[in-house]
Symmetry: C4
């Protein structure tokens, strides 16, 4: 089981440079094995070009290394905080992708402006508040997870599968590692097109609520009709 998950996490990590989301080692993907209460995550600061499946690190829910020869990603505590809070989340990704990071630096949510956004995110992609000095100075990565949770509030995390952390960058998640990367790609793409749209027309309106409902639900609602049924696939 863990072997299969290591393979999935490795592949999801390798998808990051393939989708243009990372420069050097600036990104990491993890996934949870909720039966064993273990998380598989990218090792810290290892280059994508030379990384192998067996380099993935397995940690327990407190971040102790169970398996692996490397230190886990320095952002491990952020991932674990989210897994502990949200049982719906199966995979998490963090990158410094250009456009989503620009919105994080701008300190603004990535606004819901169109159906591209509404196909995956129900409402704006929020931007967290600034961490305080004491939140940064001790347990920084854990506090990053906490401020994401505070920002999400009571929403279903699979309906808002990502946020931008103020002055830092995007975190995205999904039902598994592959889905998390998918949502990170969507976030980068809408971050790009929203910037251009706002530059073209600074007085544009957010997406009509009923259009957002329609698109989100035709993909994720009970009567979803986008794509193929499991039988057809």
């Amino acid at each position: 089981m863990i072997t299969a998950l290591k393979q999935q996490v490795f592949e999801a990590n390798m998808d990051l440079p393939r989708h243009g989301l990372v420069t050097f080692t600036w990104g990491n993907v993890s996934a949870i094995d909720s039966e064993r209460n273990a998380v598989v995550i990218k090792p810290s600061g290892v280059a994508y070009e030379t990384m192998r499946v067996e380099d993935m690190v397995v940690v327990d829910m407190e971040g102790r290394v169970i398996e692996g020869n490397f230190r886990p990603s320095s952002d491990t505590a952020t991932h674990l905080a989210l897994y502990r809070r949200y049982p719906q989340i199966g995979g998490i990704v963090h990158t410094h992708s250009t456009y989503a990071t620009a919105w994080a630096q701008a300190g603004l949510p990535i606004p819901a402006l169109g159906t591209t956004h509404a196909d995956y995110f129900y409402g704006d992609i929020p931007c967290t508040r600034a961490l305080t000095r004491s939140e940064v100075e001790s347990d920084y990565e854990l506090n990053t997870g906490r401020v994401i949770i505070e920002t999400l509030g009571e929403v279903n995390p699979l309906h808002t599968p990502g946020v931008v952390v103020y002055q830092h960058g995007p975190f995205a998640w999904g039902k598994d590692a592959h889905d998390a990367v998918h949502n990170a790609v969507v976030m980068e793409e809408v971050a790009h097109m929203d910037w251009v749209a706002c530059s073209i027309n600074p007085r544009l309106r957010p997406i009509d609520g009923y259009l957002m409902d329609k698109h989100f639900n035709r993909k994720h609602g009970p009567g979803a009709y986008y794509g193929q049924t499991d039988k057809q696939r």
Copy 2:
């Protein structure tokens, strides 16, 4: 005949990622066999990497599947509305390409600013009005086709071979599937350069009417002299 059309539609769909117009499965191309009153279209939500010619779906003019193992694109009703209204249209493409979608989100037509535009589009590329709540809540995809038709009005659809649907994205068409994709590429390119041009000089003027006439007609008018005659090709 349908076999040849399937091949064309398949190839036109595969051209979308090649031209950078799609992320994941966010695009679809169709073509009509007007003798048989049948339309060949991409299956819904199938990845480009694994899609095969035989996965193309054949539907009748009411959208019933005639041939194929998959559900047709969720946008099929939009395509069919356009084919029913405009006998000149042989192929249709829908994408969420970055820059054209940004104009759709901005709620503005892509303005005719230069000869790149005028070589393919006679006048601005219009942006539709917003769909109403009831138009979205029932027969959404059909109503998307209807609002495109309402926007085009009485123009020759091959002289305005595309529009942007408000808060959604671009639809383009042409005399066949290949031509439709060609026009979608042009739309994305002019959407990009028009944004940059408006950013450089917010008070720029639209293209002079006589220059637009010249460029459109040297490619599409009765005395066209761009390219090769059929004999030379």
Copy 3:
């Protein structure tokens, strides 16, 4: 001789998609054989993917086809006007590259803002005036050449190796076809960085004259010391 020139013109044309300057067939390169008073130019509307050396068209200085099975580029008359006026020019290129075309649509010269520009262009890259209705309606391509000449005035065309034609796009040239493409790449790159620079700081200053002199002359002046001497190469 013409065979060698055909090869050079073919290769220079093939460099256009390689440098990201063209979409589809939107570009053409020519070169002159000044001893024979003949110009080799790309055929009109032929795809780069299938184009061969032998498809290059040879025309005389009035545009009559001397050799070749295709029609020459529809812009041939523009190229010939420039060759007739400027004996220093050995090659010419026309594209619709994104950023240079955006400046053409904005109706503004590409300003000399830095040393990247000054290494190749001495002063702003001018934008032509609009062609009049009658200049467009008859002998359009010839008049495009004339308005470029009018814009250059008395400057050395190798010191201003390109202009943008209003509402159309860039033309560049050089001592041969290869050099012309090189200058077209530079123009596109400075068009991009100048847009970004003006967006960052709308009140920036043009390059200091003495810095422009230094950079232009260390590459093109009598005491040039950039690169290798002929002996070293």
Copy 4:
């Protein structure tokens, strides 16, 4: 020793086009052998496609060629000035990369807006003052080095591993040639995202000082915990 350094400098130079930092020959990397007081640098104006390890040029600290068949980069005197002043610097790179050059042309520092920046640069990436006429007209490249040194003042050059030279472009450095290129890639990336961020929100705030401290120190401080320890690597 010099052979190994030539190999490193060659590879670091070849990384420039791979990371999209250079067009044509517009970039150069050097490294110092501080025991022998020799610097290995790219030859001037040689194309990356055909450059070989043995084309690297070795110069002494006054710029006299010790080894090599080519002229050294025209920017050699700038590199040497920095090596003479800062014993901490092991490698230097100069490019005209698009976004960093745009900030140089805008005449503004690249502001510290987020953790991507703070992971490598402690504080803004400064922009030099303009060189005076006399600084440009004699010993231009040496004076470029001097104005970089004047701009850095008393900071640790490995804490501010790069600047933009006004109206020219970026210079970056590091503990060796590879590290210098790494910092040049970071500078280009933050130059890009900072432009977008400022365009999204012109009134954004610089990064909180304690967040900058945290990120810079978790990678570069005494208790650094990003990446692997030497033993693990």
